[in-house]
């Protein structure tokens, strides 16, 4: 997919480029959040924007998430297109009312007369020992509650196209980027996330899953960082002669149930890989999506690999024990095959 002379970007730079280009063409776009100005964002996704657009449109905020996310709603309703950052998704607890009860619902409450065209971008994920208040995904929490679209890119191409699509969307979009894919050296970066990104603007459709690797023996469904684990597992399975199909959900809301169902109808087997907590979340929903539709296609009970229902521990040995990884996926295949 990457040709030698093609420009590769990290997700951080891809996100920044999308914001930059939209800000150039649309004066109503602006960015707010903690440390997104001079620092360029803790995760680098607003780097360079302050220099180009100045502090009016690239606004560092007080540590007041309820106020500035609520303010983004008010600005969006008044004709602006704010992109707001919640530095770590783990902090959602201090401001979720402004998100799930306000941003997500005002369109409905107003019968469609108020639009809330805003993007809430937020970092997710662990793996680098940042412990239980800085390492969560909580994908399921956001996806469960109505009124907001929810996307999670696994690579820089999608990251740019999803950001552009999210900014242009007239509905609120929650944009969840995974720290281990971000391209910040100090976090380590999954190499597969840094890919060719065209310079021109383009959009990636919100609500459409991607088959990122075709196969006929088993469907592995994941998102964000999990897609890379799934692809690595698929490479290992290939050595055993097993052809795994890998689906990158890209978007949790709307959820592309058709693509998932079509794949499992073909393979007859389903493994879901999710870094969010196991119970009452994404993994259960994907399994239910398939099984409520048609159980006759299944050759084996579906399996899920997710974070166990415990807070995220600090020590590396503890955290790594809990996180999904390619070996766990291969082991799930082995059990499935044996059953």
């Amino acid at each position: 997919m990457n040709k030698p002379n093609e420009r590769k970007l990290t997700i951080a730079r891809a996100m920044a480029e999308a914001m930059q280009q939209e800000m150039q063409i649309d004066p109503s776009v602006f960015v707010m959040g903690e440390d997104i100005g001079a620092l360029g964002g803790v995760y680098g996704n607003t780097r360079g924007l302050l220099d180009e657009f100045g502090p009016e449109r690239i606004r560092d905020t007080p540590i007041s998430e309820t106020a500035f996310i609520g303010a983004a709603v008010g600005a969006a309703q008044d004709g602006m297109r704010p992109v707001v950052e919640l530095m770590f998704v783990d902090f959602f607890g201090v401001c979720f009312d402004a998100i799930y009860n306000l941003m997500a619902k005002n369109t409905y409450f107003s019968g469609g007369n108020f639009k809330v065209p805003m993007v809430l971008m937020t970092s997710t994920g662990g793996g680098y020992s940042d412990a239980g208040q800085h390492s969560q995904c909580v994908y399921g929490t956001f996806a469960h509650l109505p009124g907001m679209k929810v996307v999670a890119p696994s690579n820089a191409y999608d990251a740019k196209g999803l950001m552009t699509a999210a900014i242009r969307d007239d509905s609120p979009v929650v944009y969840m980027y995974h720290k281990s894919l971000q391209g910040m050296g100090w976090l380590g970066t999954e190499a597969g996330a840094t890919v060719h990104v065209p310079e021109e603007t383009y959009t990636v459709e919100i609500g459409k899953a991607k088959v990122v690797r075709p196969g006929k023996d088993v469907t592995i469904v994941s998102l964000g960082m999990g897609v890379h684990n799934a692809l690595k597992a698929a490479a290992k399975l290939e050595q055993q002669g097993v052809e795994a199909e890998v689906i990158d959900l890209v978007s949790l809301v709307p959820l592309d149930r058709d693509t998932i169902r079509a794949s499992v109808a073909k393979t007859g087997r389903l493994i879901v890989v999710d870094e969010d907590y196991m119970s009452y979340g994404v993994s259960g929903e994907i399994i239910a999506t398939v099984t409520e539709h048609d159980i006759s296609v299944l050759k084996a009970a579906p399996k899920r690999i997710a974070f166990p229902d415990v807070p995220i521990p600090f020590a590396r040995v503890l955290e790594q024990h809990c996180l999904p990884n390619p070996d766990k996926i291969v082991a799930a295949w082995d059990e499935m095959k044996a059953a």
């Binding site: 007041s64 306000l102 005002n106 369109t107």
Partner: protein
Amino acid sequence: MTPTREDQHWMYHNMVTSRRFEEAIAKIYFDGKSPVFNMANGPIPGEMHLSDGQEPVAVGVCAHLNPEDIVTATHRPHHQAIAKGVDLDKMAAEIFGKKTGLSGGRGGHMHIFDADVNFACSGIIAQGMGPAVGAALSRKMQGKPGVAVAFLGEGAVNQGAWHEAMNLAAVWNLPFVCVIEDNSWGISVPKEASTAIANNADRAAAYGIKGMRIEGNDPYAIYEAAGEAIARARAGEGPTLLEVETYRLAGHFMGDAEGYRPEGEKDDLFAKDPIPKMRARMLAEGAATEAELDAIEAESAARVEAAITFARNSEDPAPEDALTAVFA
């Protein structure tokens, strides 16, 4: 700044319309809810928070606002909605849950939204603060005129969202006014049991802005203080915090037995009803004749009746409408 004769007529008119509207709602609310009171029944189901007695705050502030200005209100929004010019027919229809309502029946009494006059409200305490501050920011960034006003109850001032938004408005010097309606109760909890200080206007010091308390539920005094605050905001001089003493003549919501009120409180409050007081003052000061005021009252009553009739005669939404308007 005293209200002109015309302002006074406008204020009185809106106070009376609000009162008539709520009387009408209150009466209909009990339809289908007796002999056993059950909130789920009748033509107006759900919770109902009336603002009887608090009309002076709404009119004293909104007298200075244009449709382009922004207002966010609370679970107790009718008086402010009326003073801000929300379409009365559509508002009534919304409260009845009709297809012709402002939101096609999706929102109801606690979710009155009218984009034409930039009015919104919500059922969560202090939730309107952020959106109002954000709208003020939007106007500043766009270089467009407009002031944003958030109305809240005194109980809401202890909520974190209030503090965060006040600081944000102040640090960014936004055209924003926060108006606290101090009716001295948060449901059953009196202000002194919830709030560490007597006068919330003193909390302006925490944000380096001007704060003022207006006593007596007096539309004239409110008009004056709000006029200053809004002028300051329009002039780019930043936010103001106003706390207004007012009275809740009704229960917290309809059906509230009000057992927590000290004896005699309600009688005292009724004796201070701001509507007859304003009428008397206008007559005494020659700001209106009996005939003028009677005409205003008749007009208000007719307007309210028309709105209620519109609402009653409107169709229910189609059941499947529940599934639309989630996204833009």
